[in-house]
């Protein structure tokens, strides 16, 4: 089946089997291997991508269901070639170890702080509770997502000294 998806701002056309999972379309048809596979049962979140800005587990969707829609993967997080606040915070706060869950965690975090610019620890823990990390014990992931929110708010406030902070 012919589908058209916009991935990280670029429109792609692909001819895929109707049964092909979205994660395989992304990894194999589009060659974007930053999206990982961890469990096959929608439990671990390693395959998380943003579908029209909302986190979804791409192992539990067919590629054809993404026809005409917009997808963001980890490769699309860079902002003008520079690390996004979320990416930078994950490094700064040691929010990753083996790196396998990291793309999903960063994407969920990105969507969270879009909706909630100043999340509490519990807000973050609830938001990422569909994503499993086996290395970090989540402590530094929570710190990283909160730091990203703070940094993003500060950056948003910076250009004009008179403007209010985003979360004031």
């Amino acid at each position: 089946m012919e589908i058209k998806v916009t991935v990280n701002g670029t429109e792609h056309a692909a001819d895929v089997e109707p049964r092909m999972l979205l994660v395989h379309v992304i990894r194999e048809e589009l060659g974007l291997t930053g999206t990982h596979i961890g469990c096959d049962t929608t439990s671990c979140g390693a395959c998380t991508v943003l579908l029209d800005g909302v986190p979804v587990k791409s192992c539990t969707m067919y590629g054809v269901q993404a026809d005409g829609r917009e997808i963001t993967t980890v490769e699309g997080l860079l902002e003008g070639g520079a690390l996004s606040p979320m990416q930078a915070a994950f490094k700064e706060e040691h929010g990753l170890q083996c790196g396998y869950c990291t793309p999903g965690m960063m994407l969920v975090g990105t969507a969270l702080i879009e909706d909630n610019p100043d999340p509490t620890d519990d807000d973050v823990r609830w938001a990422i509770s569909g994503n499993i990390c086996r290395c970090t014990g989540y402590m530094n992931i929570v710190k990283a997502i909160r730091a990203a929110a703070a940094n993003k708010a500060a950056a948003g406030a910076a250009p004009s000294e008179t403007s209010e902070p985003a979360n004031a």
Partner: protein
């Protein structure tokens, strides 16, 4: 004259990780990301039965499916003498079944196809004729005289008993029990669980028909050892085998063994002449690869009435699954379980163990622990708490009374280990202070009066890691030594090649810091290379917290070796004798004339441009480290919980972890390791369970049934540290990756048992699900009212 230099960020600095740069961009290269031209895909057909005779396989329908290239069966493997392979415990394991299937999930056939989807489709078209046999799902049943023999393939095997093994002095221990004032005992089952790294196991095998070169990209924690095993198993010349461990998405022991899938994919690539990729799905990972624990234990502690511990004895029965494939040093049938005397000055200790075959997956791995140390630590720490109750003593006080004191180190334990260093009292004092122990006990009284179930649990563990000295430690005869190779380039930048394999521990950062500490080159100027057997020195890999104790030591030693050559060059450049050169933080200066100096970068340039006549060019070295002893990290963990008496749900209110892992290379990374270990320990204590029904069906074959802690229920951790350097390690480090998984399960469980103490509950076996805790409460209440 050397100008002011920036501080060298060697040991003790929380340097940000270099490996993060690729991972946060989605640019890691895990095994499933490897794509080679002409690559085929493999899927494995697995047995639905736990125990059955295999009468025959008809693959004709699968073979006829368009896109299928080959179907591999045990019969085909047998023609190449590859139907069976050796295990790490001197047993054999079926690569593909030929005679019987011996556990649910055992490899029966493999399909090689153009796509992964076609390969999986074809599995459905393979017809296998089985005759089910009685499945043996407990080691107790396995050892009954009328139990069917599982290993009928082994002529000498007439029953299901694998080994009997003892350590310690039985006679002296029995005597201590005869004269003891008090004997406290505990029967407990440390259940089977699975490490479940987020990335499953897999490989891409690429054997060139033209050259015979075999390049295998593989999820391996021990690529060098695996190369040698491949050479021995497949009869391939070792120089033509190249194992590449790409980025590894977590290991925790799961990626130590050689699995049948690796062997089948390699054989298929050799026979077909195209690369073959095999990636497990999660169910395959959970039902067929390295499990952990599965020990049925009985422990007894002998004490004087004043609380002095005088003896410890443990007998245990290990459920080894269908093939004895434990990954552990050859001489130790139940690993380093002899550490069971823990942090206590126990004059006698005796352990007696038996292992049995059952119809379950094989491969007892050291899941984030050093060879059965977790089971040992759990036993002693649970026993000590029960002993305190029976003697009406505070569990912290009873521990303190019996701790090995800091002036007793080096301390030889009753099972023959020589503990390198420790200050158990200091670690415990800090943990108690941080959690506010005395106050918690006061609050607990109040809460109990109000009918609430509040508990405080401790664990003061001692680990034994960093195997090990060649005299006692080997895997399949291979010394557990590791190499490091260091080359300093003319511009003063460096490359360090190591034998161990990171799976998230941050070796690319911390090993550069070790070199930085020894040579004064900034960590970001040192590239660390690992995971490619063609391009790194030999060594046995990363597990049992051995990277820092063994390979980290090799790294420090090779840097010192290079520094000696640098000193000679500096002496030449400064026109003084070598004895007149002083070294400090990357600067070689003349004694008494500090303004006459050369930096390591200047010396490195001279090593390729300006040498004394006759001196060998270059600045590099290699070092193989044979540790003189193991290292013994320790700590005290303190947990406060509240149990809901109506539901059995328990919640961690506080979790304080004080670790002493000797010198910390990168405190940020150490803390991250501890957070992770505490979470896995919590998972094991609370939810992670692989069990089987009476037919041998694996319960826990996916992440819906096999529960892992998420961010929501994972406790928040408060960390503390003491630093007692290892006296024999070049930089005083002990290793830390596993302390928290080893120490924490007993702390969580002790806290819950402490909460239930007013009801008279003395044991609930892990995992402490709310249903089990609730049932224990009901039973205790029923007993009390009867």
């Amino acid at each position: 004259m050397v100008t002011e230099r920036e501080e060298i960020r060697g040991l003790g600095h929380s340097v940000k990780r270099v490996e993060d740069d690729r991972f946060i961009r989605g640019a890691g290269n895990y095994v499933d990301d490897v794509v080679l031209p002409g690559m085929l895909h493999m899927a494995i057909l697995r047995s639905p039965y736990a125990h059955a005779t295999l009468n025959g396989i008809d693959a004709s329908r699968a073979q006829a499916l368009p896109g299928v290239v080959a179907v591999v069966t045990g019969e085909l493997m047998a023609q190449h003498n590859l139907a069976w392979m050796p295990t790490l415990s001197y047993d054999t394991q079926a690569v593909l079944a030929t005679d019987k299937v011996r556990f649910q999930g055992q490899e029966v056939a493999a399909v090689i196809a153009e796509t992964a989807y076609i390969a999986k489709d074809a599995l459905e078209l393979i017809d296998v004729d089985y005759d089910p046999l009685e499945p043996i799902v407990t080691p107790q049943r396995a050892l009954e005289s009328d139990a069917p023999v599982i290993r009928t393939d082994k002529e000498e095997q007439k029953d299901n008993h694998i080994y009997h093994w003892e350590t310690g002095d039985k006679e002296a221990t029995d005597k201590a029990f005869e004269v003891a004032d008090k004997v406290v005992s505990l029967d407990t089952f440390y259940p089977r669980c699975h490490p479940s790294p987020l990335e499953t196991c897999g490989c891409v095998a690429d054997v060139s028909p033209a050259t015979g070169q075999a390049t295998i990209y593989m999820t391996s924690q021990a690529p060098h050892a695996h190369r040698t095993v491949f050479a021995l198993v497949a009869g391939l010349p070792e120089e033509k085998i190249r194992i590449i461990s790409p980025d590894i998405g977590g290991g925790f022991g799961n990626k130590v063994p050689v699995y049948p899938g690796y062997v089948i994919a390699t054989a298929a690539s050799l026979l077909i002449g195209r690369p073959v990729k095999w990636i497990e799905d999660r169910t395959e990972n959970l039902i067929s690869t390295g499990f952990a624990r599965d020990f049925h234990m009985h422990g007894e502690l002998a004490l004087k009435s004043d609380g002095t511990m005088t003896g410890l004895r443990v007998s245990l029965l290990a459920d080894e699954g269908a093939f004895h494939a434990d990954a552990q040093p050859s001489k130790f049938k139940i690993g380093l379980f002899g550490i069971v005397s823990g942090s206590y000055d126990l004059p006698t200790c005796h352990v007696s163990a038996d292992g049995a075959y059952t119809n379950k997956a094989p491969g007892g791995v050291a899941y984030r622990c050093s060879f059965r140390v977790t089971e040992a630590s759990y036993m002693i720490e649970r026993l000590v708490q029960n002993a305190a109750y029976e003697l009406d003593r505070d569990p912290a006080d009873l521990r303190k009374q019996n701790f090995i004191e800091k002036d007793q180190f080096p301390y030889e334990s009753a099972t023959g280990f020589v503990y390198d260093s420790g200050d158990y009292q200091a670690a415990m004092d800090l943990a108690l202070e941080k959690i506010g122990y005395d106050q918690l006990r006061e609050e607990q009284k109040q809460q109990r009066d109000d009918g609430k179930l509040w508990g405080v649990g401790l664990a003061s563990f001692t680990e034994i890691v960093g195997a090990g000295p060649h005299k006692d430690y080997d895997l399949l005869g291979l010394r557990m030594n590791d190499g490091a190779e260091l080359r300093i380039h003319p511009t003063g930048k460096a490359i360090l090649k190591i034998s161990v394999q990171t799976q998230g521990q941050g070796h690319e950062t911390t090993f550069a810091q070790i070199v930085a500490g020894e040579l004064g080159i900034q960590p970001e100027d040192i590239k660390v290379m690992h995971g490619d057997t063609d391009n790194t020195p030999y060594g046995l890999g990363t597990y049992a917290s051995r990277s820092t104790p063994v390979s980290g030591a090799a790294t420090a030693m090779v840097a010192r070796r290079v520094r000696e050559k640098a000193r000679q060059i500096a002496a030449h450049l400064l026109e003084v004798s070598e004895a007149d050169i002083e070294y400090d933080e990357g600067v070689f200066s003349v004694k008494g004339a500090p303004d006459k100096a050369k930096t390591i970068q200047e010396v490195a340039f001279a090593a390729y441009t300006d040498l004394l006549e006759g001196m060998e060019a270059g600045l590099e070295g290699v070092y193989y480290y044979d540790p003189p002893n193991l290292t013994f990290p320790f700590g005290t963990y303190a947990v406060a919980v509240e149990v809901d008496p109506e539901t059995g749900v328990w919640e961690v209110k506080r979790m304080v972890a004080v670790d002493d892992c000797g010198v910390r290379i990168n405190p940020m990374i150490v803390e991250g390791q501890i957070h992770g270990g505490l979470t896995e320990g919590y998972g094991i204590a609370a939810m992670q369970l692989i069990t089987f029904d009476e037919s041998g069906n694996c319960i826990g074959s996916n992440f819906v049934d096999y529960l892992l802690p998420t961010a929501w229920e994972t406790p928040k951790f408060e960390l503390g540290e003491t630093v007692t350097p290892s006296p024999h390690h070049p930089i005083g480090a002990k290793g830390v990756g596993e302390s928290a998984t080893v120490g924490s399960p007993a702390a969580y469980v002790n806290a819950v048992i402490d909460a239930l103490r007013p009801l008279g509950v003395t044991n609930v076996d892990m995992p402490l699900t709310s249903a089990k805790v609730w049932a224990a409460i009901q039973e205790a209440k029923a007993t009390a009212s009867s």
